[in-house]
Amino acid sequence: MGKKLEFLRGINIPGATYGVIVLLILFSLITNKFLTLANIFFIARSSSILLIASIGMTMVILVSQIDLSVGSVMSLSGVIAALCLQNGMGIPIAILLGIASGIVFGIINGIMVAVYKFDYWISTFATMGVGAGLALVFANGETIPIADEAFGWLGNGKLFGIYVIIYITIILVAIMMFVLGKTKFGYNIYSIGGSEQTALLSGIDVVKNRVYVYICSGLFASMAGLLLASMCNSASPIAGADYSFDAIAAVIIGGTSFDGGKGGLLGTVMGTLMLRILTSGLNLMGFSAIWQKAIIGVVIVAILVGDALNEKRKKKNDMRRTYAYEN
């Protein structure tokens, strides 16, 4: 049995990978507009912003909590950066202040949830409201145009024929995969998610690590918000509104479980790709965008059903196997 597991460890493929493959084949067969370079780039670009936002969400869900404020923070950081640029403060300040807004939200969430142990749904629901509200107030309810071309390069520019934003995403994901898989912080996240009690009794500082997780969530949300503003050459105060939903969906589809301590970033990468391939394919097939949310919801339900059936089968097999051993 040990041998078998070791073998599985090496190629721990998230279930969503198969979903990605199936969708790729399906859409390629249905429409010849799908497997074009332009469309692949489109999918990669639209995946990247969601993926960056989902990095933080993965970490939060790994410790079996949630951050509903991700979308609001995205809107807010974009608006702040756009205002900075509008007022001639320069790109570094714009980026810095945008990211700072995310970190501040992360700290506030972390303090409420980890230090004061407020309910994480309610706490981040509240900061979601505050973030969305501040974005509207700062932007005066309007979309702020960004004229700075250098800022737009982050989201739209290319390097060696590939979009800059794709490099950024790959680098961030690679770093965080390393952090989650190979460092103490990452191990602690899995431990806390697996059993808070055990983590506590093993001498792990649960509060501190939880605060860090929320800071990461805010940080990645703000980066995603900046890149979204860059890509659009403008910052809408409601730009990020849908992203909390999509990020949670990507993480769940990727196999990270709300039970905590189970799953990881590779799954989230696949979950994000699956979502965006679905969106793009449906677009090309002529489904209007208004269908997408419902379809994503259906996909999640389908995954839940599949998981449940799988678990049931596994449980039955396990019991049978035990029985067989005993004889």
Partner: protein, 503 residues
């Protein structure tokens, strides 16, 4: 032995929790290389005391010396660094992580530079540790795939992975089989030989003489006495522990059995097969056998919780088709699970609401919960079952194990159940409360209920049962009458040593 140095010396330790004085100026010492047993009823303060030693709690008053130095552990890590490790009563493992990851959780070895964890070293060190404990396990196995006993051993390995001087074990054997306990005691002997001191908490009196050197008795948060384990008188120790003499632990009126409440015919499920047993009114019938023999599985299948793959069974003479817990409860059957806290009770709800939880349909025909009826029902069972509580609005999670078990019984009594399955009825319940639970079982039987009991405590099985079915590897291998029941007989059939299998 008296000449050995003190490793741990605690003086005047006091700990208050909101509303209770958990420890009241307790003195406690542990010598180098001794097994020091902490004895006391639930709520006596044993767990609080060891949690203070291990840095989980901070004390309010008192002084603590460890290894000759005055210490003041602020958290678990500081105690670990000083060489103190604790194995808690509940397993504290991460099911989705490997054995190696669990052993080194929170203290993962690092590679040089980059802050990168050295998983290979974790594997190597774990393998060595497991080997030292005489365990044949692959450290790369996920913990969720291990048996409870194996998980317990991982806890031991986890504790030993530190450079320890003092190991605290809080009821380590409560979920182990006899063979596994022997193995654990072997390990404890070896640790002792290498100079490690052990604080051992257990409710099992027979274990104390076997491995203990000295025994300290606590009662109601106070230090009572320290005795020599080998020479102490058991009855005296128990008397000191409960503060009164328990006249008789088992007091069984054997009644003439009435009609059949349960009959199974060649019942087969996921981990048992061809089980044919019966229970009659007024009887306590035990399913005996080793952990893993399929006893709990039979109970869960009878209750409609696990699927049945063959055979049939009858409740009160009626054949049960497509069993489900709902149907079984309607027919008058109750299951009192081993894991009371998770499967038997709503810990965050008051006693009253727990007691009426299963009988809402019966009590409130029009679907509206009436306060008076609910309160009266709860008060009735509080009195009948002698639930020790100031009032019926206390949260069940705040009760002792014995009282929690009574609440579960009350919950079923209010549904008019006539057939009870007790799975490990006294697990985690202290001696004083055990006697009351035994009395309760006898009362139930005397009032005409049929009881099927699953217990790993041999004394319970021997002293309470009208009849005993011995199970081995999923099959009933022998039915023993009250006159034939003895520890030797049960073990002989359970282990298939000597006993002829009639299967």
């Amino acid at each position: 032995m008296a000449g050995r140095d003190k490793l741990l010396d605690m003086k005047g330790i006091t700990k208050r929790f909101p509303g209770t004085l958990a420890l009241d100026s307790v003195d406690f010492e542990v010598r180098e290389g001794e097994v020091h047993v902490l004895l006391g009823e639930n709520g006596a303060g044993k767990s609080t005391l060891v949690k203070i030693i291990a840095g989980v709690y901070n004390r309010d008053e008192g002084e603590m010396y460890f290894d000759g130095k005055k210490v003041d552990f602020r958290n678990v890590r500081e105690a670990q660094d000083a060489g103190i490790n604790i194995i808690h009563q509940e397993l504290n493992l991460l099911p989705e992580r490997t054995i190696a990851q669990n052993i080194f959780v929170g203290r993962e070895p690092m590679q040089k530079g980059l802050g990168r964890i050295d998983y290979k070293k974790m594997l190597r060190d774990s393998e060595e540790l497991l080997k030292r404990l005489g365990l044949d396990m692959n450290p790369n196995t996920l913990v969720k795939n291990l048996s409870i006993a194996q998980q317990q051993m991982v806890e031991v390995a986890k504790a030993l992975s530190n450079d320890i001087k003092l190991l605290i074990m809080d009821e380590p054997t409560s979920s182990l089989t006899k063979r596994e306990i022997d193995k654990l005691f072997g390990i404890i002997e070896n640790l002792k030989k290498s100079g490690i001191s052990i604080i051992y908490i257990s409710h099992r009196m027979d274990e104390i003489k076997r491995i203990g050197d000295r025994v300290t008795i606590l009662r109601d948060g106070q230090y009572i006495d320290t005795l020599d384990a080998k020479t102490m008188d058991m009855d005296e120790a128990i008397a000191k522990m409960v503060g009164r003499k328990i006249t008789k632990l088992y007091n069984r009126r054997y009644n003439k059995p009435g009609r059949e409440v349960l009959r199974t015919e060649k019942l087969t499920g996921l981990r048992f097969r061809n089980v044919s047993i019966n229970v009659r009114e007024g009887e306590i019938v035990s399913l005996a056998g080793l952990v893993g023999a399929g006893r709990t599985e039979v109970a869960k299948a009878l209750f409609g919780y696990d699927p049945i793959e063959g055979g049939e069974y009858y409740l009160f003479g009626k054949k049960v088709k497509n069993p489900s817990p709902k149907k079984c409860v309607r027919m008058g059957m109750a299951l009192l699970p081993e894991d009371r806290k998770n499967e038997g009770l709503f810990l965050k709800m008051p006693i009253r609401d727990n007691i009426i939880a299963a009988s809402l349909n019966k009590l409130f025909k029009n679907g509206i919960v009436q306060n008076n009826t609910a309160t009266d029902t709860a008060e009735k069972y509080k009195k009948e079952l002698k639930i020790a509580t100031p009032n019926i609005y206390k949260l069940v999670g705040e009760l002792s194990g014995g009282n929690q078990q009574k609440v579960v019984v009350g919950k079923w009594l209010s549904t008019d159940c006539k057939f009870f399955i007790f799975d490990e009825p006294t697990r985690g319940i202290d001696v004083g409360a055990k006697a009351e639970i035994y009395q309760l079982l006898d009362d139930l039987a005397a009032n005409g209920a049929g009881i099927l009991m699953i217990s790993s405590e041999m004394n319970e099985v021997i002293n309470l049962s009208d009849r005993v079915y011995v199970m081995r590897e999923g099959e009933v291998v022998k039915e023993l009458d009250r006159s034939e029941v003895s520890q030797e007989a049960i073990l002989a059939y359970a282990l298939a040593e000597g006993g002829s299998s009639n299967g």
